[in-house]
């Protein structure tokens, strides 16, 4: 893995009013790294990734992303200029739990809007890009539909296309599958997996522990207002070192016997698994197809 850091948080504190949501959060995300953020509800996972593209402000510390340096709202620190904020946001894609597609626009127009209005792409260029992305997620036949005519899973894949159409260098996902019916989760996860294989840098808040274990290089466990544990995905999920991470994982995975996630799969990571090729370029981490597992869900 190349060592360039794409996103870096240093001593970040976030409060809502008098309430400290988290404090002293530090984290580095490298190019093509996939970081999964897990933790109990209310731990501040969403808030954390929303600080990265400044949908939330933060009170202390600094976040460096793609060459931009954003400080908390502390006195004496430089404020972020509006244009720089917009530039930062165009380089960071975000996918929301509730999709947030534009209901008055067709699928195509949802994907084309920002490339045209922010990047100044021509109609033809934006159309070509949108079609290519919709093709990738298997939705080109739905291009003229309106969001409400789509299933949740389809909407979320369109939302991913909408973000990708800006050619972001980092993608943020906030529980992209938690609003979906179980049988629709697989398609969205497949899209995210595909992005991981293509080397997209991603920070992903998720409750899909198995998916995190498969796709993420790093897992961050947030709890009690701080990062309780952070490390290689398989290690944190299978054998958490801290009591806090262990107790959380026990609760979300009650079938395990105290040792975190039991790895039921048979492919040892070193043998590479059934997919060859691009996986090797993703930081040599454990990435293999879980198509079989998902078929069981369908």
């Amino acid at each position: 893995m190349s060592n360039d850091v794409v996103v870096e948080l240093e001593g970040v504190r976030k409060c809502f009013g008098p309430r400290v949501i988290f404090d002293d959060v530090s984290l580095s995300v490298h190019r093509s790294e996939v970081v999964a953020v897990i933790g109990p509800s209310g731990a501040g996972k969403s808030t954390l990734i929303r600080c990265i593209n400044r949908l939330n402000t933060f009170e202390r510390g600094v976040i460096r992303a793609l060459g931009h340096e954003v400080y908390g709202t502390e006195e004496g620190k430089p404020a972020l200029k509006r244009d720089e904020l917009r530039e930062l946001r165009t380089e960071i894609g975000m996918v929301f739990q509730t999709f947030n597609l534009f209901p008055h626009l067709t699928v195509m127009k949802n994907v084309m809007l920002a490339p045209q209005r922010v990047k100044g792409l021509s109609e033809a260029q934006a159309t070509a890009r949108a079609l290519e992305l919709l093709e990738m997620v298997g939705l080109s036949h739905r291009k003229d539909a309106h969001p409400r005519q789509l299933s949740g899973g389809e909407q979320q894949r369109v939302a991913i296309c909408r973000a990708l159409a800006m050619e972001p260098k980092v993608m943020l996902f906030d529980e992209p599958t938690s609003m979906l019916d179980p049988e629709l989760v697989g398609d969205v996860l497949a899209t995210i997996r595909r992005l991981a294989l293509d080397g997209m840098t991603m920070i992903l808040v998720t409750h899909e522990m198995m998916f995190a274990k498969e796709v993420a290089n790093t897992v961050v466990v947030m709890a009690d207002g701080r990062i309780a544990e952070m490390g290689p995905a398989r290690q944190v999920l299978s054998a958490p070192k801290t009591e806090r991470a262990r107790s959380f994982l026990e609760r979300v995975l009650p079938h395990t016997d105290g040792g975190g996630v039991t790895d039921v799969r048979t492919h040892p990571q070193d043998q590479g698994g059934p997919i060859a090729g691009p996986i090797d370029s993703i930081g040599g981490s454990a990435l293999w197809s879980r198509e079989a597992d998902e078929e069981e869900l369908l």
Partner: protein, 214 residues
């Protein structure tokens, strides 16, 4: 019978004035109302407070009292304003107060997630408003806007009290001359029904179109 025809003709002349005032005041109120709502929601604190106070005043005072204060008050200050223009100004002021509330509700009804999605994509505030927020708010506001135009039109009947020669003015005249209130007021009612019915129909068509376009 020909007398009734004469009064009907005069009432139709009055209808032109009613429509003129309604249309003009509606346009002004909608533009000012949209601006006021944006100021109320996104403007600096002083502006917010001003817009809120304005809306409360318009909503709180009886319509006829507002009209009298404006018309007779201005005259007392030596400002010579014709009944017609006083009427127009009042309809605009009154309409703006209500239009602000309609636009505010419409804009606030758009979920926060829509704003966040535009922000996350790097759209400017202006582009977000223009391409995403207002088009959606517009659809949601259409029924209220239709009501609003009907209300403005019905408000013009109050202008009779300051001597504007609208439908009501001619109807009253016709009644006292002919002594046939049921017939003359009935005709006046018919004219209002046609006008407001047309407004509702246009509103309905716009809603239908918006529903298809969505």
């Amino acid at each position: 019978m020909s007398a009734i025809a004469l009064y009907t003709g005069e009432m139709l002349d009055g209808a032109v004035i009613t429509l003129e005032l309604t249309a003009g005041a509606t346009v002004v109120s909608l533009v000012a109302g949209a601006a006021g709502a944006v100021g109320r929601l996104y403007g600096p604190k002083a502006l917010k407070t001003f817009v809120m106070a304005y809306v409360e005043t318009i909503r709180g005072l009886p319509a006829i009292l507002q009209l009298f204060i404006l018309y007779f008050g201005l005259t007392q200050f030596g400002i010579d304003i014709s009944a017609y223009w006083a009427a127009f100004v009042w309809l605009c002021l009154y309409g703006t107060g209500y239009a602000i509330e309609i636009f505010r509700a419409g804009l606030q009804g758009i979920p926060e997630g829509q704003h966040e999605a535009t922000a996350a994509l790097g759209l400017t505030r202006f582009e977000a408003m223009r391409r995403v927020i207002i088009p959606q708010a517009w659809v949601a506001m259409l029924p209220a806007l239709t009501n609003f135009v009907v209300l403005e039109l019905k408000n013009t009947t109050l202008l009779y009290f300051i001597g504007v020669q609208d439908i009501m003015f001619h109807a009253r005249l016709g009644v006292s001359n002919s002594g046939q209130p049921l017939v003359v007021y009935g005709i006046a009612a018919g004219i209002y029904v046609v006008m407001n019915g047309t407004i509702s129909r246009v509103g309905g068509l716009l809603e239908k179109r918006a529903a298809i376009a969505r």
